[in-house]
Subunit: 309 residues, 4 copies
């Protein structure tokens, strides 16, 4: 069986490699634009502690928006349903940085996985602590989930995000105008930019996501990370909103909850089975890794892990 | 075990009954407005042919938009991927009858489960046959899926739909302006209005949906209704788009693919397990049965059938 | 002085001729697509009955949306302020056939000069009379205003409009869904399509518009056509809305109230001075005659007739 | 004649007074919310240096967005047509602080009289000088135009604007994301907030606007303030965009170019005749002085000064 898995992973990798060069590396953050576009790694983490890896699976990359799943986990445990006063849980049907719905919907972002909603979520984590402490808390959470203290915040990327963060600043000020920010904009954004700049490998990321595949409990350490109910909610939100206006396509092709980042990473959750992470910097039009999506589609089909059959 | 299921079903029913009176019966179709708002029925169909029912489970009601799942099934088998030239598969983030995205997206509806997309899908079924033959084909498909020839088209409801169908006519003419209708508007709409007027009980509807819970094969008759791939695709689209701008909420609360209709019916698919149908005419703001949603949420949790854990 | 006017007109004509070939002839109505794109005529009508003409000034063309100004005149006199229950008087900021605002604004079009608003206005004229009588009334009004019984409805164009009128049908059905149509859609549209198909020369059109330059009274016949207040209102609406999302540009460049049609005609009102009509089939992106706009800009500046200085 | 004017002014004042109490004082800027809502003044300035005044005509109020007309004048003279690379000149059809069109139109505001466009315009004035120098330049321009050095910047209002300027910050950062801001956001906004906080009486404001009624030349001093062409352009833009999504209504009712501010002031230009300023703090839904609009409508009709007849 494990031989089969490794074979399927290798097949998916080879299949998807053919699409390299078709995507476009994110260039609006200079520090990301420098990444080698031919990078491609993929990892599966299983509850028994076993990993399957292929390609550049141990090289750290900028997880960007994949981090939103983890800050959502922290915020849900911290705030519970009170979080939903600041952010909704519906697909937006719009791009990751769209501001249109904020205007027509009173400054409440559609969901925690678009930029506006993620900023509102991170802003929640600031309650009662400084920006540095909040950033440290998020990093510590990622290191623990990855079971690896080498996970780090790439300060160059964080600075680059801050320097080019006009759209995010616009979103935050817009929410502030509707009293939907609890802390000073630049303070909350400084945390948000750092969370997006967390660097991990696909191996670390797959390991980190395991608790979401097992009802909120880390199957290796046995620790309860989020409640079963919150786990279910987070996966439901990833399914509907994890890839912005490409979420339907991901559900259609891959059939698992997932979250993409413009660094080219995607985390995918197979409930009851495991967590899969992939990284390839070239993006499709919606900002999801093009090669990564292809690889996931192939691999999940081979394993027959879609939640829709 | 079966005693447990019946108990859970009864509990969900009793729990949800408390919400009766909070929803609003659809009044824009006069024939629907006459329905007794206190009606409430629920059925679970299992692959072994066993049914669990409670309340008004054998009384026929107007399935309305729930029919879209079945015409999508027929159209996908008929047209295959060519269908996606006429309609997308992304959540719209908008209400069931919104026309805004048609203007900005070249007359291609976001998905087959909003009205515009369903009209385009039904229009596909007309290829090579008359309106009456198409309507007859859809009815026959429903009767076969329900394994019950008593499923019928309520002509009064169909006439009522036709008489009050201005929004749908507007959508169809708009698509026609972008060459996204293949047959005369009123001809295609006459089929669409009849498909929406199909009357079934929750027992029949749950039975009819079973093939979607078992990879496209009817687990009782053993017949292949749609391919496994199409089954997966249909469930993915139901998950993201089955309840319009309330789809995220349904995924969050119930955690299963589902499709609602303004007649108060909801069909829910539990892959590998069974199909659940519920009916209660009072609707929430997004046009989904309020009591029905509550009942499903309660029942699915009790069974632990969410696909997200 | 009259020599000066003729010289200015000739200069404007020569200046604008250089832009021929840059516009695009409307092709969505087949009967319009056949027009010779090099046609170009221009006429000024003065209150003393004198005309200045250049180019193809006596050749009839399809006035299309320029007709909206005249049906608005008729409807305002007929319905008075009650008309404003069916249609607003604000610039839409959108294209001539946009449906988006109808959805967010309860089926009430922004103004009577976009398609939806013009359809609602024509629908008003149907009160108490048949479609044929209404069309005959509009034609008679145009013949009287032009002081020329040779003004006619081009039946081929009218049929072509009807055959390709999907966008307009969509708008009308959408308004009907909000109870903002008083008569059967196809009946009202049959009048609307005929009004758009009225054929006139620039000489006739300039003559027809004179009453709007003189407070509602035809300065030649002395007849009161609309009240002074309605005249002021119609000119204000032309200024803000006469060229859809190009209205600001027309005000900026020409500085007079005007109304364009996709047949390439533009009627321009110089209060207290006269009326100018121009025709050249090539359109800019907003559906206004490109060469016609250039000619008007040049001519109005030479005459120093802008109302903004 | 002058007796007639004074009588008409008095009549308009008395007529409009009846509407006091129907509007709503702007409350989103705390310093504005404190203004006595019963204030009401009105002034007409004539080219011969004569003034007609009624009510609180010599009491300074916060001119707010009326200032946009003057910074547009400065920027047009400074940048010429290059200004139109940063901002358009079309009615937006939207509210003063809407951000929706910025997203769909590449960060270019529709016109210089909505907030986004005014910020882009003021940002232009910063080229080559400090924020303080730019604010000083604007103030000096207003003092010269008003021929009164007592015109001042209300620092409390300016601070209040800065403290509550989230929507404006959001707009500015959004434009910055599209490289449509030339200077640091907070620097440009500090000027913008001060320009909005300029305090003048209706007498001063009417005097200041005279150059726009006389082709860009101050008819009293004889100084050329803007070119005739720019004057025409500014008036055209005021006509189409001076009152946001209420501009059509103002053109319909008053029939003159005008610009309103949420402080309750309106400046109106009667080309070739004079300039009228009015102040009454209660606003209609679109942010235009309710009583002020009524007074202008009455007065302009009495004088027969509409540019549409």
């Amino acid at each position: 069986m494990s031989d089969d898995i490794q074979k399927h992973l290798r097949n998916a990798f080879e299949h998807a490699k053919a699409y390299r060069g078709q995507g476009r590396v994110a260039d609006y953050i200079p520090a990301l634009a420098k990444v080698d576009p031919s990078k491609f790694g993929m990892s599966l983490a299983l509850p028994n502690g076993k990993f399957y890896c292929v390609g550049d699976a141990t090289e750290p990359f900028s997880i960007q928006s994949v981090s939103k799943v983890f800050t959502l986990s922290l915020a849900l445990e911290r705030s519970g349903d009170d979080l939903w006063k600041s952010v909704g849980r519906e697909p937006s049907g719009s791009s990751f940085n769209s501001i249109v719905q904020l205007e027509t919907e009173g400054g409440i972002p559609r969901n925690p996985l678009i930029n506006a909603g993620a900023i509102a979520t991170t802003d929640r984590l600031m309650d009662g602590q400084s920006a540095d402490d909040t950033a440290a808390e998020i990093l510590a959470f990622m290191q623990e989930r990855a079971d690896d203290p080498s996970v780090f915040i790439d300060q160059e990327v964080a600075s680059s995000e801050a320097a080019t963060g006009s759209r995010n600043r616009s979103l935050a000020h817009f929410m502030e105008a509707f009293s939907n920010m609890r802390h000073p904009i630049e303070t909350s954004l400084s945390v948000y930019f750092r969370q997006c700049a967390i660097a991990m490998s696909t191996r670390q990321l797959a390991r980190a996501g395991l608790y979401l595949a097992f009802g909120g409990t880390d199957p290796i350490s046995g620790k309860d990370i989020v409640s079963t109910e919150h786990c279910r909610h987070i996966n439901a939100i990833m399914m509907g909103c994890g890839h912005y206006d490409n979420s339907g396509e991901f559900a259609y092709r891959v059939g698992l909850p997932g979250k993409s980042g413009v660094g080219g990473g995607i985390l995918t959750i197979a409930p009851g089975r495991g967590a899969i992470a992939v990284w390839s910097p070239g993006l499709n039009d919606a900002g999801t890794s093009l090669v990564g999506s292809k690889a996931l589609e192939h691999f999940v089909h081979a394993l027959n892990w879609s939640i829709f059959t």
